[in-house]
Symmetry: C2
Subunit: 426 residues, 2 copies
Amino acid sequence: MAAFGYTRAMRQSQLFTKTRKEAPKDEVSKNAELLIRGGFIYKEMAGVYAFLPLGLRVLNKIIEIIREEMNAVGGQELSLTALQEKELWEKTDRWSDEKVDAWFKTKLKNETELGLGFTHEEPLTRLMKEYVSSYRDLPFSAYQFQTKFRNEARAKSGLMRTREFIMKDLYSFSKDKAEHDMVYEKIKQAYINIFNRLGIGGSTYVTFASGGVFSEFSHEFQTLSEAGEDIVYVDEDKRIAVNKEVYTDEVLESLGLNKSNLKERKAVETGNIFTLGTRFSEALGLTYKNEHGETTPVFMGSYGIGPARSMGTIVELYSDEAGIMWPRSVAPFRAHLLTLGEDENIKTLGDEVYKTLEAEGVEVLYDDREARAGEKFADADLIGIPTRVIIGSKTLESKMLEVKDRATGEVEHKTLAHLLQELKNG
Amino acid sequence: MAAFGYTRAMRQSQLFTKTRKEAPKDEVSKNAELLIRGGFIYKEMAGVYAFLPLGLRVLNKIIEIIREEMNAVGGQELSLTALQEKELWEKTDRWSDEKVDAWFKTKLKNETELGLGFTHEEPLTRLMKEYVSSYRDLPFSAYQFQTKFRNEARAKSGLMRTREFIMKDLYSFSKDKAEHDMVYEKIKQAYINIFNRLGIGGSTYVTFASGGVFSEFSHEFQTLSEAGEDIVYVDEDKRIAVNKEVYTDEVLESLGLNKSNLKERKAVETGNIFTLGTRFSEALGLTYKNEHGETTPVFMGSYGIGPARSMGTIVELYSDEAGIMWPRSVAPFRAHLLTLGEDENIKTLGDEVYKTLEAEGVEVLYDDREARAGEKFADADLIGIPTRVIIGSKTLESKMLEVKDRATGEVEHKTLAHLLQELKNG
């Protein structure tokens, strides 16, 4: 990850953000409140957040995990545009505001109406007409990390529901349902990998939700949280759930679930995978010639996940009254080095440890500010970097670093060599 | 670069894009025509292009070079939003369409007007009020790679002038003009580094252009090209130029330039750096307390570069009738491996060489398709990967690979070990 333009190490005195005592008064969600106070995000307006240096680091780590898993299943990355043509979306009957209530619309100077993409089935299906003609071209998948715009009527859940956000949307193109089903299963497994790597796999359930013409169900990835806007019924033993929208006796029976084993829980829809079938390929004419020379519509699927929503969910799950507790895989830095007091020997030792960690490839934030110990501790708790390393007057004598785990609160004293070994192991 | 989610190696048979014989008929620019034909970009509508896998690789390499140079001068990366509030931009008198003709405007459901950011001085200046209060907080710089929207009346220059594009915009925040001037010089040098690394430094001139209240001139980076929309007057010996907009006897004299040494040339404005002074900090109230406790407006600068415009410019400069000739630093892959013919031994050798290159960390595109040699050569010329490696029947006997340089056309025969050594050296 560090190679992706990351400065591996940073002095906190140079970071332009500071922690804040309070979030904006209109901010009611825990994730946004903590992320704003910690200097991760900035609220531009309701449902619209800028990502500050610490927040962008977390977001990019989440993105990179998703990207790796999409590449691992053969996804090819591209990047479509926000600006969308009316004519294209009329062909699938998704242009009018009556049919789709999430559109932001705008206009060219010559009054041509344009939309801001809230999803990208239409443009990608049209694009593929240029490249798909034969069964030999299938199957394949294409994905992007691209900014979606959704004109949400209400946006009070912090990063959970925003009007502008990066979404990873992958689309699969297969010859037929049988081939699609194999692709779909592979990507479903990739999604499970993603949530495990993000540290929220244990709370995330593959959830049966409403499907469509081509599949009885779609699958949501629902992460249990009181901050969630969805209601799901969870079978903890079977590790699956059912969305309230399809929670009927008939569905339960078809899934072999017993009502008495299900618990009603609130959850965040952190991912969604969907069998599109030929809905878009037929409407837009994306066809291929099969082995017998017959013109056949391509069978499609779509697979979405919002990195920022995952980030908000992680904060909801991993935080306490003092602040955030980032899982290592997505933490803005692996270690937070703090010096206490103004003793020059302490500063010198701090600088040495900092340089060593940096040289050894450890991502480290170094709190070299002239600030009281209490302030440094409070900021470190709020920012939530997994491992805190403290250098104070005792360190000068003992040569042992005080190492505290943000999540467990456990404190150990370690030599620099011992610490390095631990940090480099993950 | 490879660590940024890149698949290091790829089989061309798996790539969903194909080359095209022709670009859309309404495409008149050379850069877009070649990039569309090569499968790098897709035209959604005039001035709006999607980036396909090969094109996104190039774009990301350009972005990564810019990012490294911005980090090297201490820039802190963040990401602001496209959606913009009317009230904010009214404070600097940049909301009305009479004042700014590039706005795309849209609306929330409650009819609140919003704009799509064409630049970000206003939101970033407002954001910094949260974090800047003392002279100790200055100077610093913040930058982003973020999608801008500009409602261009005409968009016929391919990637040179688009309605939606990623821009790197950095903003500097200093205590006063003297401090700003030092920051500005440092960033100017970073820009020179960027264009050198992109391979277009030799054709790019620091160009004096119109300034503002706080500085007599701004500086543009103008890359000489017949595809350019600007007119500049170039002093080749002094390696500077003057934009037509400030080309007066008075200005030439103040710069110590002699008209007879200047050549009129067309050029692409590939970068622009600008002293903003206190225009935005005064209007929006971004102030700090100086050493004497006096409230003082922050002194600002802005520094822009469009990665896609650089990409288009590179294509304009480095292409011939057969296609593109990517500089190594931004090429989608370092090597293009081609097998010729259907002989199983050739395929086996091709697979072996491919696996070796991949294992050794060489970014390689492997044309393993069942296609005629002529078609493979034409596609390779069009796509423009720097080094072509050909495996044919002769290779089986001689064990020497035919290695062709796309730019020079030079052909050499090399052992795999020799080739590897060369590719790994850059």
